[in-house]
């Protein structure tokens, strides 16, 4: 899981990229706390071939990436 809450872009995308490059997970949960990061991480994940499911966790955004 990548917990990028409290970070603004480009950090959440970079953290997601690092996790994908390191472990190439088939499923990955990314937590962010703002819509800008939510969109940017989702776009990035889709460009890496992941399917993205959007969910909320309280006031935060939960992205479930899978492929």
């Amino acid at each position: 899981m990548v917990d990028a809450r409290g970070f603004s872009c480009p950090k959440p995308v970079l953290m997601t990229e690092e996790e994908i490059n390191k472990n190439n997970p088939s499923e990955l949960v990314v937590l962010v706390d703002n819509r800008t990061a939510e969109n940017n991480v989702a776009n990035f994940a889709m460009s890496k071939g992941y399917k993205v499911t959007h969910d909320r966790e309280g006031r935060d955004f939960k992205l479930i990436l899978s492929k």
């Binding site: 603004s8 480009p10 950090k11 953290m15 460009s47």
Partner: protein, 384 residues
């Protein structure tokens, strides 16, 4: 990364460009329809944080931009009070971005507006800006990060909008007396006296401004659009380099094209040149280095001065601290003669150029060293 284009970013860029040309047509200084750095500097002047007489005015555009972002983020359910991400570092980064911008004479937004006005010095600035962002990106790729922010009390996220509104109301109440004083000075009335607590420019850029409510309303619209579209001058270039994402740069290009076309339509455009440009100088090495500081500092902060205003409107207390850092930086820049100045132009048949003061050069070098230290000491800081 495949670019998903958001048409709103292009619309926002064009509207900002048109608004900039309109504000200048209605009284703002040339090539300064918008300049976040210059306008914050003017606010520092009118509140007597510095005493440079020609740059003192409470720019309603700044109030409007922050308020527009505040209202739009509330309406869109995006407003959220957050703070606690390396506030002192952000303060000092805001301070340095302001010093760099005032050496060049403009924030990244004014740089683009100057480019659209035919000012070639701004293209030198752009080169520096890109270099600064590239340096910032190198450190971002190596893991540079300011710390995480956290949820805070709602009031914490409202500080900048509320303070700006209070300042604006006070300034507006003083405005009849202030404008009378300015008119008296301009008309050579003997014994003209400013009876208010605000300082006000009677000449120079600070005395040139569009009508107050027009500036406020345009600021509100721009703030709202910039909030929704994530408009950011630094983000445009950064995202191309880091993610091959061309979305944000379209806003940047939109501003340039709209300003260029607007200037041509209004007959303001006189071709591209370096000399005799409005509120600009030809001390190119410092134009370049000033914008290196702005690009680098803004890349570390995660956004240009405009974006910091927007984030402060969205409830980000750290961006509010950054803006206050810029305000204090502006005061220092003028109190210690660090800022750039316009070329005097043709004097006795020869072109007289502005040369940045020794203080200004020293400050620029200190800023570059400080940026390097901050960049190096915050690598891999994101795991906490």
């Amino acid at each position: 990364m495949k670019t998903k284009i958001n048409p709103l970013i292009i619309i926002t860029g064009i509207i900002i460009g048109v608004a900039a040309v309109a504000l200048t047509a209605f009284g703002n200084p040339k090539n300064m329809g918008f300049c976040i750095a210059c306008f914050i500097r003017d606010i520092a002047g009118t509140t007597k944080l510095h005493s440079a007489g020609v740059v003192q005015y409470l720019r309603p555009e700044i109030v409007g931009i922050v308020l527009g972002a505040f209202i739009m983020s509330l309406a869109g359910g995006e407003w959220r009070a957050k703070a606690g991400s390396s506030p002192a570092l952000r303060f000092i980064l805001g301070f340095m971005v302001m010093v760099g911008a005032l050496i060049f004479l403009g924030c990244p937004l004014r740089m683009v507006i100057r480019m659209g006005g035919g000012d070639l010095n701004a293209f030198v600035g752009l080169a520096g800006f890109v270099v600064g962002i590239l340096i910032g990106v190198v450190f971002l790729k190596k893991g540079f990060g300011l710390k995480r922010n956290y949820d805070v009390a709602n009031l914490d996220g409202m500080v900048l909008p509320v303070v700006l509104v209070i300042l604006f109301v006070l300034f507006f109440m003083a405005w009849p007396a202030l404008s009378q004083y300015v008119a008296d000075v301009k008309n050579g009335v003997e014994g003209a006296k400013n009876t208010t607590s605000f300082a006000i420019s009677t000449s120079g850029p600070g005395s040139m401004h569009a009508p107050i409510f027009m500036a406020l309303v345009i600021g509100l619209v721009v703030g709202a659009l910039a909030q929704k579209s994530r408009m950011c001058m630094v983000g445009g270039i950064r995202d191309i380099v880091m993610f091959k994402n061309y979305n944000l740069i379209l806003g940047f290009i939109g501003v340039f094209v709209a300003v260029l076309v607007g200037n041509i339509v209004l007959g303001n455009f006189k071709g591209f040149a370096t000399q005799s440009q409005p509120i600009a100088h030809t001390d190119e090495i410092w134009n370049f280095l000033g914008m290196v500081i702005v690009g680098w500092g803004s890349a570390l902060l995660g956004g240009c001065p405009l974006r910091q205003l927007i984030l402060a409107g969205e409830g980000n207390g750290d961006s509010a601290v950054t803006v206050i850092g810029m305000l204090v930086g502006a005061a220092f820049a003028h109190n210690f003669a660090l800022a750039g100045g316009a070329d005097p132009g043709m004097v006795d048949g020869a072109y007289k150029a502005f040369k940045l003061s020794a203080n200004g050069r020293l400050a620029a070098i200190c800023c570059l060293i400080a940026l390097l230290v901050i960049s190096l000491t915050n690598l891999k800081g994101e795991e906490n």
